[in-house]
């Protein structure tokens, strides 16, 4: 070999080394690029995670602040109530003490008179103070003072004074006079505009406090009002709407975590989730109301205690001056109860605050006694009676509720697959595939597998090494060298060497590309198997969902049965129903 030949050989060798190193470098760079791409994706998902947890944190902090603010407000409002109305408590306590003094006769007239007169001075404008004076005067047989005091009390609050007197007289066994006050009270009422204290009448009816004659009188009046109010369809519709919003409270929680595959594959999932959690309300309603339908409310042993409870309710629960503060208090309690979630608190309050309104029509008083007994202060027995009176609205609201969620049932549940993948820097998109679960699962699986194959094959093929394109350049160079070889034979050797080196490089590249292609093929195969498993899992979960829905939805008939039971359960059949109120038979049933 001549010198120039050797030199050329060395240089070609060096070029070959360089090309190989370059090739390696390019390979490394492409690996690094892929690595960077992967890391970018990781960083991206971590960022998303961070953003989500930050949002959660902000929400949580906001709610905590809301709840704390509400707690502080509760303290302030309670102090305000105590400050402004705290002295009423003394009057209320004294009223009860005075009645017990009546019973046992251990307190002297003077003490009672002093206390009554003192409270009269201390609580100007409060209706209960003159009532105490009247009670004391009655005990001392001072008719003139008694009448004047009653007149003053009646002037301050006609409704409550009438009710109080009716109950006191009933308590003392003066049936006739008691009924006169009661008649007086009822006659002055407008059924479309009742005060909150009217709940006491419902309470008295359910407890049989006015005796058979009283119950009959009240019941007659109530039936008359009911018919009168129901002739206005808007009023009835308002009650049905009220019960409907009550039913919404029984909607179950979302069930997505029980059906993860269905959530992932089916676009109908949101509807299915809604429908199933709404159907869950039936069971919750049965739990809530079936106990009420069968229970027998316990009555107090002595009618004095019974009436005292009602009197307590009358004097403590219905003073309108306190209502704005009570509403404020209820709002803040709701915020604390919902952990600072203002939207949830508002949803609760929209219906609950109705019970704290000053005036209601008779139908609303009934619905509120049934749905919000705590806010009206009425007993379980009264609630039961009220639910019974409202059974038609309850049934109708329930029928509409069931109809509405059933209409939302998806007619066809589908599975959809559509995804983007990144294979070593090359993007692959699986076009949309939709299949209805009404088709047999085997057919669906086959169709999905074919879809993957159809979409994957051209992609894998596109990754094949392109010999044609990559051969153009070395071919041309070698050809030129060969042509030159005719003039200078050394070029022939050069052509041979360049051809061999370049050929080696191309072969190396082709091997790499074949490996990439195989990787892609494996990846797509795995993805296909995953998809098919997800589809199969989705079908199994759909079967579970259908069973769960059928079961929950099937309880609708049982709710109707409970409502029908309640319709007959709530009549005021108490131990006092048959008791006749006259001196000597005041106690015991």
């Amino acid at each position: 070999m001549t010198d120039p030949d050797r030199q050329l050989h060395h240089k070609v060798d060096a070029v070959q080394q360089l090309v190989l190193r370059l090739e390696e470098g390019v390979g490394q760079v492409s690996l690094q690029v892929a690595g960077v791409g992967q890391r970018t994706e990781e960083v991206n998902s971590q960022l998303q995670l961070l953003a989500r947890s930050f949002e959660e944190y902000v929400l949580k902090a906001e709610r905590t602040a809301n709840a704390q603010r509400a707690e502080t407000r509760i303290g302030v409002i309670e102090a305000q109530i105590e400050h402004r109305f705290g002295h009423y408590k003394v009057v209320r306590r004294v009223a009860r003490g005075m009645l017990q003094g009546f019973d046992v006769g251990l307190v002297s007239d003077e003490t009672l008179r002093d206390v009554g007169e003192q409270l009269m001075v201390e609580t100007p404008g409060y209706w209960l103070a003159p009532v105490l004076v009247a009670l004391q005067a009655w005990l001392a047989d001072d008719q003139a003072t008694c009448e004047r005091a009653v007149q003053e009390a009646f002037h301050r609050s006609p409704g409550r004074t009438s009710l109080f007197m009716a109950l006191i007289l009933r308590r003392q066994g003066r049936g006739e006079s008691s009924l006169r006050w009661l008649r007086h009270y009822l006659a002055a009422l407008d059924p479309s505009d009742l005060g909150r204290e009217f709940a006491v009448i419902l309470e008295s009816v359910s407890q049989g406090a006015f005796g058979p004659a009283g119950i009959e009188m009240v019941q007659e009046r109530l039936d008359q009002w009911r018919a009168q109010l129901l002739s206005d369809p808007a009023r009835e519709q308002a009650q049905i709407q009220r019960w409907r919003s009550e039913l919404e409270k029984y909607v179950g929680p979302p069930v997505a975590d029980r059906y993860p595959r269905l959530v992932a594959v089916s676009p109908q999932w949101p509807q299915m989730d809604r429908v199933l959690s709404r159907a869950a309300a039936h069971e919750a309603l049965i739990n809530r109301y079936s106990a009420m339908a069968v229970e027998e409310p316990a009555a107090r042993a002595r009618i004095e205690d019974q009436v005292d409870d009602i009197l307590d309710l009358l004097v403590t629960g219905f003073d309108e001056e306190e209502l704005p503060l009570s509403r404020d208090l209820a709002e803040n309690h709701a915020i604390v109860k919902h952990g600072g979630d203002l939207a949830a608190a508002r949803r609760d309050l929209d219906t609950d605050l109705l019970a704290l309104d000053k005036r209601h029509d008779y139908l609303t008083t009934q619905s509120e006694s049934a749905l919000n007994p705590d806010k009206l202060g009425v007993s379980r027995a009264t609630q039961r009676m009220a639910v019974s009176s409202c059974h038609e609205w309850f049934a109708q609201a329930h029928a509409q509720y069931s109809r509405d969620y059933r209409t939302e049932l998806p007619a066809d549940v589908e599975a959809v697959f559509e995804s983007d993948h990144n294979l070593a820097g090359v993007a692959f998109r699986l076009p949309r595939w939709t299949g209805s679960f009404t088709r047999p699962i085997e057919a669906l699986e086959r169709s999905l597998a074919e879809h993957w194959d159809r979409a994957g094959r051209p992609f894998v093929d596109s990754l094949a090494y392109n010999w044609q394109r990559n051969l153009i350049a070395p071919g041309a160079v070698v050809l030129v060298l060969l042509l030159c070889g005719f003039a200078q034979p050394i070029m022939l050797v050069a052509a041979l060497l360049v051809g061999a080196v370049w050929g080696g490089v191309l072969w190396y590249q082709a091997q790499n590309q074949a490996a990439v292609q195989q990787q892609a093929r494996d990846f797509l195969e795995r993805a296909k198997v995953d998809s098919i498993q997800q589809l199969r899992g989705g079908a199994a979960e759909l079967a579970d969902w259908t069973t769960a829905f059928r079961q929950a939805d099937g309880r609708e008939a049982a709710v109707r049965a409970v409502v029908a039971d309640l319709a007959t359960a709530g009549s005021p059949a108490t131990p006092y129903e048959r008791r006749v109120a006259h001196a000597g038979t005041r106690t015991g049933a």
Binding site: D232, P233, R242, L353, L354, A399, R406
Partner: protein, 139 residues
């Protein structure tokens, strides 16, 4: 804190509800339910038209509103699963699961499939009033 965002009720909404709402909620009597069932039983054209007429008159006088027709489960067997009884065009149309049902009847389809209702009354307004097996109705 102004959380009380309740809409005013009673009285104001009066215009939205027709005065016959209470009448509409009356349970459908057994005779009517039976007549609706008979519509499905392969009647000749004249008898069907007569029965349609009777049902329409009954709805008019008893409940004050006449539905376009009814939608119910079909007992003919496969491939049919449900059918539409049109009171005005005097037709009975049976549908297989894949058949499209014309509006507004289509929305009643899932209601009858729950099996909870005897049939569903479909009104021109698009309102659906499902009738339970005991004749009571959600209106």
């Amino acid at each position: 804190m102004g959380l009380d965002a309740r809409p005013a009720v009673a009285g104001q909404d009066q215009k939205r509800f027709t005065p016959v709402r209470r009448q509409l909620r009356k349970p459908r009597h057994a005779g009517l339910v039976e007549a609706v069932h008979r519509l499905d039983a392969g009647l000749d054209t004249a008898t069907r038209a007569q029965l349609d007429g009777w049902i329409r008159a009954e709805y008019e006088s008893e409940f004050g509103d006449v539905p376009l027709g009814m939608f119910a489960l079909c007992h003919l067997g496969p491939p049919y699963i449900d059918h539409r009884l049109d009171l005005f065009q005097s037709i009975v149309e049976h549908y297989a699961p894949a058949d499209p049902v014309p509006e507004p009847f289509a929305r009643a389809r899932m209601l009858v499939r729950t099996g909870a209702y005897d049939f569903v009354e479909v009104y021109a307004s698009g309102e659906l009033r499902p009738v339970l097996h005991d004749g009571s109705v959600a209106a």
